[in-house]
Symmetry: C2
Subunit: 353 residues, 2 copies
DNA sequence: GTTAGCACTCTCGGGTGGAGAGTGCTAAAA
DNA sequence: TTTTAGCACTCTCCACCCGAGAGTGCTAAC
């Protein structure tokens, strides 16, 4: 494909450009890396690299800049995937140990940790199952004709909604409704609840309907919810000289778009996927790269995390970091939320204080 | 204080500057408003207004720009507080009716609605009580030695946390623990739970301790949580020509700082408070104004909402909008969450289907 | 008190011109 | 055949200047 020397040269160009954000010239690179041949030779090689599309010229008399194809070749063939240093791992783990109490909180924390570790923006979706199942529901009266409906779904997700009744309902009656519905619908999916023909009073049917709606919305929502951190990391980079470019990026990272940012259909079921510049279908992303990884149990509860930054990024370090953090999160997920992590049968042996 | 004519002139200058974002000159304003005196007269008046600090000069030969003091005078004395047009109110109300199911969701929605209505950024804090009281707790097993603790607090707030036990605990036992703790602690505050000397088993004590921690964290957290929308509205305004200024604003609006943005100690308990530029203690806010209002029941559950934008903003329209939306939200809050809205006694008369 | 006239000040945009960086080509050296 | 030195050429960037335009402040007349 490429001669050894040209490969190495490409590697150096990328490394230098990632550092300096300046187009790199033949002279510069020769001095910087004390290469054993002259600038002229490098110019010849660069001309070839450019012919083949690995680097390009912003304008005639400027240095060279890696193209998307160049970065792609680098990621596939040149980059050595080095492991993170032990102390970095330690630091990251430590930050996770201060994780908040609620799921939302620690997902958000993970986005912040990732963003800081790679110096770019990070998006982390909430972990989801294919179809949620009801574990328990609870009705708590808050007014004569209003109650808070709390659903506990599998994998420790909690949903809540205020229900209004056409007439006053007493606390006792709420308890009995909850009781009945728990018996009827425990471990059912939203769809199953809809199709069920359990005997229900009118008011129970009203509640069951709300339960179904919430669960279906949760499933439909799927990866809608995600946390974004570190936008300022990206915006501070030299590529954002003009406020126009900043606004563009901010538009891409709008709250409403976050979930669409991650191309779920195109990422591997496991491991890190890299999408460089125009490899991404979305036009607005053509100047940015995405380093994505799913996390969680491959056939259970999963989410995805992504680093977003200019195509000029340290892919090696970013990939290692994403891989590591995805691992840590998968671990935490099975420790805390995965019901299959420890077989249920062990229950029998257990004693309680 | 100011002669009538100077007042009116100030009003026109502000109105023109808010529109155009350009320093306004004597000629411009004369032509624009067809004033019955000449530019020279206006220049004389402007010189006086400047002497007294209501307007200023960016540089010698530029037009005039309102100062913070000028805006302040405008807000106090010149601005007519006009009501929002009925159809705008209707539109806003309509947007609220599509409100989400969970409290977080509709607070976030309200921030988006406010931001759009005023064309600036908006921050809305979650509504809080002074001290939360436990309404009900629930333990749902998710692994042999882990359970999800769900707390329902007054005002329909829900908190959740995964609890790990030193040994396996069966579902029945969880139910009995929950039962016992519900009896002991229902309608208690976190502090009261801590001081209680109820008879508890070791594992119950473990759970009660977690409950206390969560509740105290929730109270301490207070206004920590807030939603921000419409940053791009602000960033698109002409005052943000340089990316530097954009970064400054983004820093102020960082997620972690949101709650500190609202100077709770300095806002009125009711009605709209306006803080213009350097009236705000925070240096970073000297170029921005804040239009703040609390919402909710004055002595019950309350939150605050604020509009953030450059000092050059349409104060009249912004104030009206904030006032109106705060009203709508207070209304919704008492409809859905305020337990005192309808006296409990009515319960007696109610019948249920 | 108001106005016209006018000199003055400052910004902004366009144009110019050199410095600097880097290229591509050619011809000689290895 | 590959590598290198030399050199003309190109393009950007920055500093500088200049004139147009907008607006002011002052003065003197109405």
């Amino acid at each position: 494909m490429l001669t050894e020397r040209r490969s190495q040269l490409l590697r150096l160009i990328i490394s230098e450009y990632v550092d300096s954000a300046q187009p790199v010239g033949s002279e510069t690179i020769m001095r910087r890396f004390e290469l054993p041949f002259s600038a002229a030779t490098i110019r010849n090689e660069m001309a070839r690299l450019e012919e083949e599309g690995f680097i390009s010229h912003p304008h005639t008399s400027a240095g060279r800049v890696p193209s998307d194809k160049g970065y792609r070749y680098y990621v596939e063939a040149l980059m050595q995937a080095r492991d993170l240093p032990a102390e970095v791992k330690q630091t990251i783990r430590h930050q996770f140990h201060q994780a908040g109490r609620e799921e939302d909180e620690w997902i958000q924390l993970s986005a912040a940790v990732l963003a800081r570790a790679v110096g770019n923006a990070a998006v982390v979706t909430l972990p989801r199952t294919a179809e949620s199942r009801l574990k328990r529901l609870e009705l708590v009266g808050i007014q004569d004709n209003a109650a808070l409906l709390v659903l506990v779904l599998q994998q420790a997700r909690v949903k809540q909604q205020v229900l209004l009744f056409p007439e006053a309902v007493e606390q006792e009656q709420l308890a009995s409704i909850a009781n009945h519905l728990n018996q009827a619908f425990s471990s059912h999916t939203g769809g199953e609840i809809g199709r069920s023909n359990a005997q229900l009073t009118q008011i129970e049917w009203h509640v069951a309907n709300a339960v179904r709606e919430i669960m279906e919305a949760a499933d439909r929502g799927g990866y809608d919810e995600a946390y974004l951190e570190g936008v300022r990391n990206v915006l501070q980079k030299p590529e954002f000289g003009t406020s126009e470019k900043m606004l563009n990026l901010l538009e891409v990272l709008e709250h409403r778009n976050l979930a669409r940012l991650i191309p779920f259909s195109q990422i591997a079921a496991e491991g890190v996927t890299v999408m460089i510049g125009s490899e991404n279908d979305r036009d607005a992303m053509h100047e940015y790269s995405l380093v994505v990884s799913p996390y969680g149990n491959p056939d259970g509860i999963t989410g995805a995390m992504a680093v977003v930054g200019p195509t000029r990024m340290d892919y090696s370090q970013t990939i290692s970091t994403v891989r590591f953090i995805a691992g840590v999160m998968s671990e935490m997920l099975s420790t805390y939320y995965d019901e299959d992590a420890v077989p249920r049968e062990l229950d029998q042996d257990a004693t309680a204080s």
